[in-house]
């Protein structure tokens, strides 16, 4: 019974959304000038932010997985830090990113002064906002996978002459690959649906920062059918990408 309620909670809104979607007008709505650029931008930025999540999230996860020797307060602080984007409302996360990287921000001001680089209102800002909210999913998933690797395998690798880096890259990471893939998929999905931090940190400019969720929200303000059409597209695209990524990344990793 609780399982059925859970399924209802997850599936109910989706069903309601699909029932209300303007199916007949859908092609026309999606072919309009707004949706396609937003779709391209969404896919591109979500892929880029997933790459960033993996690039910085895997080392972070490795550090956390090896943190059992750290003092307890430090360990707790590290864990809380990783969870921050999960508990922070995305809009506040966007404000925090502005305060850090905005042109009057902690790092943003020197960055602008030294290199003339302004991050807010750029596609880079979209990617950073997505990476910020997606990173916990990568880190937590990868850390769990790394901890799940049987310690005999890295030990065996070391006795076979493997340096710590080779042990990690050739043995531990491949064995944790399903968890890494799951983390990437979750981060990607989170990035694809990211709205609050994006609108706050990057704004909304078609073709530059207006991703699908932002376009959906803006459309919602005066055109519910258009918003529903974008929502349907978002659901279909995420489902398709998640399924295909899952297939591709997990095939061949199983023993």
């Amino acid at each position: 019974m609780p399982a059925a309620l859970g399924a209802l909670l997850l599936g109910g809104p989706l069903v309601a959304l699909l029932l209300r979607a303007p199916w007949i007008a859908l092609p026309a709505l999606l072919a309009g000038p707004v949706v396609l650029p937003a779709l391209g931008l969404s896919l591109g930025t979500a892929l880029a932010s997933t790459a960033i999540c993996l690039l910085v999230g895997v080392p972070l996860a490795a550090a956390l997985a090896g943190s059992d020797g750290w003092p307890l307060p430090l360990r707790r602080a590290a864990r809380a830090l990783v969870a921050t984007p999960l508990v922070l409302p995305p809009v506040i996360g966007g404000i925090a990113l502005l305060l850090l990287l905005g042109r009057t921000g902690l790092l943003g001001r020197p960055l602008l002064a030294a290199f003339g680089i302004g991050i807010p209102f750029s596609t880079t800002a979209v990617v950073l906002a997505q990476a910020f909210v997606g990173l916990p999913f990568t880190v937590l998933s990868v850390e769990g996978a790394l901890r799940g690797v049987d310690p005999r395998f890295p030990a065996a690798a070391a006795t076979l002459g493997a340096s710590p880096w080779i042990v990690f890259s050739r043995v531990v990471l491949p064995l944790a690959a399903p968890g890494v893939a799951a983390g990437a998929v979750l981060s990607f999905a989170r990035a694809l649906g990211e709205f609050g931090a994006t609108i706050t940190f990057a704004g909304s400019l078609p073709g530059v920062t207006q991703t699908l969720p932002v376009a959906a929200y803006v459309a919602l303000t005066d055109d519910l059918p258009a918003a529903l059409a974008i929502a349907v597209l978002l659901v279909v695209v995420s489902a398709a990408v998640l399924v295909s990524l899952r297939e591709r990344w997990l095939v061949g990793l199983r023993p």
Binding site: L8, L9, G12, P13, A16, L17, P89, P90, V91, I95, L98, L99, G102, R103, T104, G118, P120, F121, F195, G196, I199, T200, A202, G203, S204, L205, P206, T209, Q210, P213, V214, A216, Y217, V218, A219, L220, T221, D222, D223, L224, A227, A231
Partner: protein, 272 residues
Amino acid sequence: MTRRPLAVVLAAVAVLALAGCAEPASDAAPAATASATASASATPTAAALSGTIVVDAAASLSGVLPPIATAFEQAHPGTTVRLTFGGSSALAAQIVAGAPVDVFAAASTKTMQTVSDAGLAAAGPVVIARNELEIAVPPSNPGKVTGLADFADGARTIVVCDAKVPCGAAAQRVFALAKVAAKPDSYEPDVTSVLNKVELGEADAGLVYRTDVLAAGGRVKGIPFPEAAKAITAYPIAPLKGSAHSALAAAFVDEVVQHGAARLRAAGFLGP
């Protein structure tokens, strides 16, 4: 007993689903849920005003309505007015989609029109105030903005409301009137977002309402411009159909129409 909580949960789920994309306005969802619970359990009493009403209002009214609501609650013990502020187009979309709301106050007649067109207005909307745009710049005015013409400069960081929301529609009108080819860096979903970006110093200039500049105190500087007078927005208010406390909703609308004028003027609004 088992069926009703489930129905409430389902209603909440539906509301959450509809509000799903609307994160800045997401506090609307819990408020709406609370009202669904209240209207499901409250026993309607005939004469005396009592109960809880949900009032959705344009973000720019957020400085004015709370004291009016408090005064109303004190004048009518046993009543509660739950205020939700957001982009008025987003609020209208939620109302049209079935969010349980008793009173709606919009930042444009066009937005109110979507609600009355859906047959949801219980009485004709009444305009309670008018507002006009003003340029907002950070206090130090780093972009050295002097007028609307500076909005065409690609080197300055410019933010305005999206044309789909009232403040954005007004912005497009003043640009057309001033023959300025504006090059915004972002079309924000509501006027609060525009104001925030100016306040944080991320934008050199934004177009907001005169009342927003006043409410922000010294945190932004306002620059009036002549075209604003030709793109004035109206604020209509209306009680909504389907309210479980329609008498209370009508009474609150009356209160705002009859006694809100002074507060609205003090906040910088123009008379109706």
